[in-house]
Amino acid sequence: MTLRFSRPAVLAFAGALVIATTAFAHHGWEWAEEKQTNLEGTIREVYIGPPHPSLKVETASDGLWTVDLSNPAQTTRSGFVEGSARPGNKIVILGNRSAKKDQKLMKAVKITVEGKDFILYPERMPK
């Protein structure tokens, strides 16, 4: 058995891999709805740290949502740190929901925990 790979074949394979692994970007806002909406619920889990801080929020009638916050540095800058929220706290999230209707995932612009605001993306706040 002899296997030979032509140079174009190897390059094409490498190119396809690069496209396959970068096309599906979770970062940015393109994957989310354009309009901002509110989501209300009770915090179930708080994760603060790298690579990405996030919350699990139980809603009254729409199940458990995952809420992506900003990156660790920006989240810290908003004032949201360890101890800012704990499971059981009431929360209102202003942000963009996933454009996929069956995906309970939202990217937060501002969160309000027990009445206290944390603005994660000041530049995206409604005027």
Binding site: R4, F5, T21, I48, G49, P50, P51, H52, Q103
Partner: protein, 155 residues
């Protein structure tokens, strides 16, 4: 579950979550580590499969195998540290479990090949089964990188 919680609560895991500037270095070290693995292993696999025929396997195999082994060792250490920040979440992450399984299969495959070194000796004939293992190795490591990258893109 308890052991994962204990890892989550370990001092170094907590420190890694709190110190904003350490994680990116560990992350970069992990990428460098598996970059070494894939770079060295892919070159060796392709040589076994018939590329770079002018370079003797007996010359190429030892340094490439060693670099790959060093890469695997560093990837395990850095990967364990990255895992420790959110062990419970990663343990339930599909792509992560696929990635770890693929890496284990890749390591086992390499150890098996290393255990019968006839193919590395000068002028030794490369058997079809060794070539098949090289092809499998190439596939496994590429898919391990792809599934590893996928970890961040599922909920």
């Amino acid at each position: 579950m308890e052991i994962l919680q204990a890892l989550h609560d370990a001092g170094f895991a907590t420190a890694l979550r709190r110190a904003l500037t350490v994680y990116p270095f560990v992350n970069a070290a992990h990428i460098l580590s598996f970059g070494l693995v894939v770079g060295a292993i892919a070159t060796l696999d392709l040589r076994v499969l018939g590329l770079f025929r002018t370079f003797a396997l007996s010359q190429l195999a030892p340094p490439l195998s060693r670099m790959a082994a060093i890469g695997v060792g560093c990837a395990l250490v850095t990967g364990f540290l990255l895992f420790s920040v959110q062990p419970l979440a990663y343990a339930q992450n599909g792509p992560f479990l696929v990635k770890v399984s693929l890496a284990a299969a890749g390591i086992a495959n390499a150890l098996l090949l290393n255990a019968r070194p006839a193919w590395k000796s000068a002028g030794g004939e490369i058997s079809a089964s060794v070539k098949a293992q090289a092809a499998v190795s190439l596939f496994i490591w590429i898919m391990a990188v792809v599934s590893g990258r996928w970890i961040a893109f599922v909920e």
